[in-house]
């Protein structure tokens, strides 16, 4: 007997409701919702209007405007600014390549890209900066665009080279800033402002990541000594406040190290403190990821003849790290913000330079403006990192469960 199958039916179209409809359902459905809505609107309107009045009327932004250079590069010698700009150019070019490379859709620019470009153009036009800086910014934007165009053309099998290129760029930037090998060396005492914040943060992030992974693996190791030492390290560090570890790194580290490290400069000691601290937390995050990988994965790898190092690096770690990307990036964001503690040790990173600006007689009392400004800078970078982490997750999730 042939029974007729019912014909396939399209799913019902969800009714697009008008804004009025939406407001009636979501904001004014009952009398107490009406009251809540009105109270909230009043609070928001008053709050925002006061804030706007403060921003445009009361705040005296000249403390930021006159000190823009101090905020960004601090006491870096002006005749060497070109090295900072060049570093930015290198990074912008690579960022462009990586970005163009990771985009798969046909549209050349997305809306968010256009908005970002608009902001940059507006900044270049509006910021009260010297002509040379404007020219540099325009050049860097061009380089990034060229990188983007190039990145879109690259064949996908080059993707494994991107991390290598980032590594090379990182070393190149360090060389440009620090000098040596043919460039005039700069003493670390002139590293300051956002420049110092970025140098310490990225270096600490890059160094603490492998250390954290090793500690996490050590904590799972079948060798009792390795396991014990890793656990001890992690638990000790996690029981200490960061400020204490930074202090130890500044004061005690030179005592432990062999003589030729004794006069390790303050910036490197600070980085060491941040790395030692962050690695312990990263290790715990990574360990969570390791535990999330089913035991069958390592067994299948072993059964195929892969030794322990290959099993860990090809099978277990990639899955473990992917599972904990948000936690790891969260740790990086913390680390980035924690660099502000270095101000307490006399390092003039972004917060330190802000404090020193506030100590100038003509800017006394301009706390709100200065801290709002540096807060905005911290936020831009942290938000960027969290966006990057989301993109990475999305990319890694393509096709996988």
């Amino acid at each position: 007997m042939q029974t007729e199958l019912p014909p396939p039916v399209a799913p019902p179209i969800s009714r697009a409701s008008s804004p009025w409809e939406w407001m009636r359902v979501n904001l004014f459905s009952t009398w107490y919702n009406i009251i809540l809505t009105i109270v909230c609107v009043v609070i928001i309107v008053v709050g925002i209007s006061n804030l706007l009045r403060w921003v445009f009327d009361i705040a005296q932004w000249n403390v930021v405007v006159t000190n823009l250079q101090l905020f960004f590069v601090g006491r870096f010698p002006p005749e060497l600014y070109w090295r900072v700009w060049l570093s930015l150019g290198v990074l912008a070019c690579l960022a462009g390549i990586a970005w163009g490379f990771s985009r798969t859709d046909a549209r050349w620019l997305s809306h968010s890209t256009l908005i970002a470009l608009g902001v940059i153009v507006a900044a270049v036009i509006l910021l009260p900066i010297p002509l040379s800086s404007r020219l540099w910014l325009v050049t860097i934007a061009l380089v990034a665009t060229i990188g983007y165009a190039a990145g879109r053309q690259l064949p996908p099998n080059l993707s494994s080279w991107l991390p290598v290129m980032w590594g090379v760029a990182f070393l190149l930037v360090w060389w440009l800033i620090k000098g040596g090998l043919g460039l005039a060396p700069t003493p670390t005492t002139v590293w300051s402002g956002l420049l110092l914040t970025l140098l310490t943060a990225t270096t600490s992030i890059i160094l603490s990541f492998p250390l954290g992974v090793l500690l996490a693996l050590g904590r799972q190791s079948p060798l009792p000594v390795v396991r014990g030492l890793s656990t001890l390290y992690i638990e000790v560090i996690r029981g200490l406040p960061l400020i204490g570890i930074l202090f130890l790194a500044q004061v005690m580290l030179p005592l432990f190290l062999p003589p030729w490290f004794r006069d390790l400069d303050r910036v490197l000691r600070a980085i060491a403190g941040l790395v030692l601290f962050s690695a312990a937390y990263l290790a715990e995050n990574v360990r969570g990821g390791l535990q999330a990988v089913p035991r069958g994965q390592a067994e299948a790898a072993k059964a195929l003849g892969l030794g322990a190092p290959l099993t860990v690096s090809l099978i277990v770690l990639p899955q473990a790290l992917k599972a904990v990307i948000p936690a790891i990036v969260g740790q990086f964001i913390s680390l980035f913000k924690d660099t502000s503690l270095l101000a307490l040790f006399g390092l003039l990173e972004l917060t330190g330079i802000a404090r020193s600006i506030l100590a100038q007689p003509e800017f006394i009392g301009r706390y709100a403006e200065v801290y709002l400004f540096i807060g905005l800078i911290y936020w831009i970078f942290c938000y960027g990192m969290s966006q990057a982490s989301r993109n990475l997750e999305r990319k890694l999730n393509v096709g996988q469960r």
């Binding site: 089913p294 299948a300 790898a301 072993k302 003849g305 290959l310 990639p318 899955q319 996988q400 469960r401």
Partner: protein, 260 residues
């Protein structure tokens, strides 16, 4: 039991040296001192297909996992393809290259494409060039009927397809011996056949196979010998015909009455 071993050894139709020799293997689980293998002996000859049956918890998985050193054992002797299985890591590596394994839960690598799953071991363990590994992988994927899915990720395949990829992945190392641990137990019923068909044609290719399964039809048709394990020992060893029609041991009869 010993008699059975002797008769097969003198059987002129089979090559002389067994591919797998297990002699009086004992194992205790360290965590709970559970005596899981209580003196198990089994010879598997080249080209032979041995099916291991038995109630759940009788130690079947544990036993075949000792063959590629996924489980340690404390007493007895195991020799795989002429290599003594000992704590020597070099021996373990050598054995794992010769022994492929297919798991109940597939255990494909979810972060790699099907093709990368299959080429991984040949590239990293056998050190083949990528191109060669991919050619071989494509041939194997074609053989198991997954060629169109080569660029997909395991999570995008059905259970039966995943298990066939797992078989291809194990075969890519060109093993002399294949171990199957309940390869169809995690599958929806309609997918069991596609996997058993692949295993059947594999058996005809002459590779040595040890299969833990509850699939009576497969055992009856494909097995050269059927082994019944219960309580950590081998209870009975027989040809399929004898095993199903004329089981000698009472425990075998009881087991068969439960599954047939």
């Amino acid at each position: 039991m010993t008699q059975q071993t002797i008769t097969t050894e003198t059987d002129a139709s089979l090559p002389q040296k067994p591919a797998i020799i297990a002699e009086n293997v004992h194992k205790w689980y360290a965590s709970n001192k559970f005596h899981v293998l209580r003196g198990v002996s089994l010879n598997v000859y080249r080209g032979e297909v041995v099916v291991i049956m038995g109630p759940s918890g009788s130690g079947k998985s544990t036993f075949i996992r000792t063959f590629n050193a996924l489980e340690e054992y404390q007493q007895g002797r195991i020799e795989i393809d002429g290599i003594e299985l000992s704590h020597d890591l070099r021996n373990i590596d050598a054995i794992r290259k010769e022994v492929g394994m297919v798991f109940q839960q597939f255990n494909l690598f979810p972060h790699l494409t099907v093709l990368d799953n299959v080429t991984l071991a040949p590239i990293w363990v056998r050190r083949w060039a990528k191109k060669r590994a991919e050619e071989v992988a494509m041939q194997l994927l074609e053989k198991v009927g997954i060629l169109e899915q080569a660029r997909k990720y395991p999570g995008q395949l059905s259970g039966g397809q995943q298990q066939r990829v797992a078989i291809a992945r194990a075969l890519a190392m060109q093993p002399k011996i294949m171990l199957f641990d309940e390869p169809t137990s995690a599958l929806d019923p309609e997918m069991v056949r596609e996997v058993l068909d692949v295993m059947r044609s594999l058996a005809q290719s002459g590779i040595t196979m040890v299969v833990v399964t509850h699939e009576v039809g497969f055992a009856r048709e494909v097995a050269d010998r059927i082994v019944l394990m219960d309580g950590g020992v081998i209870v009975e060893e027989a040809t399929p015909q004898e095993f199903f029609q004329n089981p000698k041991e009472e425990r075998t009869q009881k087991f068969l009455s439960q599954i047939l």
